[in-house]
Symmetry: D2
Subunit: 307 residues, 4 copies
């Protein structure tokens, strides 16, 4: 997020624009909380997690009156273009605002869930999976010492991308994701197969949104049927922080530069996304129309390589 | 643990002894699973989490017959002295074994809970609190962006040492620990005070063994009475892994060296501990007699400095 | 590297093959040091840096006699296909071996320099830039406290990819790379510009292979012309270790699976690479024919965004 | 540093004082750059490396006129007590100021070199050795893959504490420190012994202030006499940054609280130090009188355990 803001600001200034930051997202936009940004103002932020401008889940912005107020703030400040950075909710908000404000609007996809349609990946996703992976590596360290089953709950309410990538990279035996319900009987058979093959400990990744209700609930159902202790970790908001990875910062910078260029080219109501390592423009209504489908190939690779 | 084994092995060889490792703790001792160790065998392990020899929570060793078998293994291999490394259970086991085996027995206190009597700190404790702290730092990164209360459950069934140290070092507003029950009404008043002072987000550390039943249960009870979202993280076994910190490795090395020296000096049924930065010998029956009391001063410091 | 080996082994077994590992690279191949691998043999290695099989920079393999011996080892063991994992030297070796052995040969590009033609990225590159970035973030922490210029030397003898990516992601003011010689006078003017704009401290990334001879030499030449202290860090082999990132593990796994599939499809003397997020087969002679050109766009982005 | 400032501020407010921060150390004191601090002002800083107030190596403060101006700033602001946080230079400055200002002065020892007399450890030291250790662990990852000698230069101009602790915790074969000159011939004999014992790679820690002139110079002299490649890493300012460890934050907090209490008890010209895990007051003239001697026991332990 900070890397996005830095890139938009500096590239905007470089291209001769005046640049303003909006504090606390759409809430700040509604109350007109704009602050002029210089190149120095966005110095020494690229390595910081979170966002120095603040953010919000604005209820007011979901009302026509709220968006009306936001449009007025932009007009009052004589703003020509707006770059927003966020997930599906942010993109949907941008699309709605476009009906009430005539300036150019560009969205940069930022979400730790990688659940946005029209882009291969999102700002922050690489950071989130590496954070989750570090946690799993730590669990593995002790995993071999004693016979145990570890359930690790990762983020992902409607989307199992994190769970799948983390399971693959972390050597988990299985991943439970919202998109592909897994019969617990089938999971128990898999655990037995690994155990018979001499494996002492196993890690299972659980997306928070999978059908059984999360890692604690899965543990409660599995425990009576396995001879080994089941231990649960719930990562929660750990995954949202930490210094961004190189890939997240570079992506944020590329998309931030592209967003400014797109605005100056007259584009509006589009998202700057990444497809096959190329920056592309995606109409915002496509980005928010549907959720990204789970990667079937990933599930299959995990099946063959687990452990 | 690995640093302990390395120090005992190398210092033992240095002092002219033959050194054997026991695989999988007391279980391995019962079945005589001993392996001769050279200086090279314990090379390149000091940085590894977990233990390369394996460990166990041996049920059999808790029976006289089990300990009888262990004593026989030691006699058969003509072992003169035994160094064990572990927590209260390990120390109690060592004390029980001393009744059935006449060799020297020295214990090195290793526990992520820092709950062993007679030593200021334990091997692995510094690593565990730093791991928990990293997780909390990540949560703080996003904490300021939105108004939220975060509950972070750390290890500590009967002992709140981790929770207290982590709360102090992590800038939490409170710590719920087994030794000092906290009225949830008092906690709610504290949250309100901070909120009125303009604080947007707050972190509360919950030891797994505190009286309400852990972080999820505390969240369930607090949520109806606060206007902000409560989010839960359960660290679980993350705290047991990871590369050991410098302090943990240096402590393990000092105590490993001291354990070998103590054996050669004819000591037995003692634990090598650290008191005021000096290595001391503590009778094993004192080490296991009582639990370490919680640090009252710590609780008070947290009260005054929170955030 | 370990993730590659794991994926090749498990996917090979999954597709019905027998799989052998070669210890210590081409040297081990020459002396026929092959070891049969099971699924369990490659368990618990995906998170480890380095390579559990060992590697070598074999001088003997560069001679026809050496490769003759390697070919004989493969024939004696009745091997049908070989998957090698490494950089330009490894790929060139594989190509030379193909003249003396008739089995299928597939190369997986692994190099921290990202200097291999025909693939967007290499196994290990993402890990290396994140490791370098962590070091730079640490330097930034103190950078603002005092007025200083920091030179950080990163790997890259003939290729500035690491330096460019790290400079961009780390907010450096400049990167000195082998492909684009920088006049030190121009660099001094840039430093003066930033200083006049109120910037207290600056980080410059120096690829080890840039024309002046590395960071210490650049510091020696710059120091007389700047009023602030210049401090030097040389990362060296730090960049080669550490737990691999999620992206490195996932790439290694994808390419390992693809290498096995390519062998079974009858391909030979090809490298499995990544182009625009798709796995592709590249003739080995193309991969080794030329070095990857520096990314001109990257240099430009750094110019506009520095700090 | 930030944890110190936070503790002094909050405990000072808790005890009924008004608290001011001085920007950029003694330079700021000279120009009277004081800022009133509230509990909220020092929120969310405990996890940050560096110091949010800034620091300086003030030349002016070394002159009587400079200290005169500083004393005047304190009088003008009606300050009764001053808490300074830093190394030997800071302590000496505090002692000199005491001759020109009558208020209470307490020093908190903060130095990554652990070179201050009268305290077992200093704020920041634990962080510095863990940072160096992480770097060495990364080098070890690849160390075993190929036969190599690695020289790692760590901080320590006049004091080898970091080098010794890091060598012990990192499994290095030797440490070159300012206090105990090592004959390079003796070092070569040690390397040969290890090599004959089958060891493939070796790490040697070099304190920047050792007699030969640092790691590059040592490498230049050793290389002609060894058959294996020597690689050099110079950590430099990496060791000064990074999020502080738990031990550093807890120590800073304890000493910060103690400093405020000491001021209120009427103490002056003392340093709050740690001796055997107890906070103690040490006259400033003792703290600056001599350098901490190297730990002879440490050197001996390293000799017996290397690798």
């Amino acid at each position: 997020m900070n890397a996005c803001m830095r890139a938009v600001t500096r590239h905007g200034l470089h291209r001769g624009l005046q640049v303003f930051g909006v504090r606390e997202g759409y809430d700040g936009l509604i109350r007109g909380d704009l602050v002029r940004l210089s190149a120095r103002d966005v110095g020494n932020v690229i390595q910081r997690g979170g966002t120095v401008l603040g953010s919000s889940r604005s209820r007011e912005f979901r009302t026509p009156a709220g968006r009306e107020a936001a449009a007025r703030s932009l007009q009052d400040a004589a703003i020509d273009g707006l770059v927003v950075c966020g997930g599906n909710g942010t993109c949907a908000g941008a699309l709605a605002l476009a009906e009430q404000w005539s300036g150019g609007i560009i969205a940069i996809p930022a979400s730790i869930d990688n659940d946005i349609n029209g882009t291969d990946t999102t700002v922050g996703y690489d950071t989130a999976i590496n954070t989750a992976l570090e946690a799993i590596d730590r669990i593995r360290d002790t995993a071999e010492a004693q016979e145990r089953i570890f359930l690790v709950e990762v983020m992902g309410r409607g989307c199992g991308a994190i769970a799948l990538d983390v399971a693959l990279a972390g050597g988990a035996v299985a991943a439970l994701v919202p998109e592909a319900p897994v019969d617990l009987d089938a999971l128990l058979r898999l655990l037995t197969t690994w155990r018979d093959a001499g494996r002492r400990s196993m890690i299972i990744i659980v997306a928070e949104g999978e059908e059984h209700g999360g890692a604690f609930e899965v543990a409660r159902r599995l425990q009576p049927h396995v001879p080994t202790d089941i231990r649960v970790t719930v990562l929660g908001h750990i995954q949202r922080g930490g210094a961004p990875t190189a890939a997240s910062r570079i992506l944020a910078t590329r998309l931030g530069v592209a967003a400014v260029d797109a605005l100056l080219d007259g584009a509006t109501s589009v998202m700057v996304g990444l497809k096959g390592n190329q920056v592309t423009l995606v109409p915002l209504h496509e980005a928010v129309a549907a959720q990204r489908p789970a990667d079937a190939a990933m599930l299959q690779i995990i099946g063959g390589l687990a452990g």
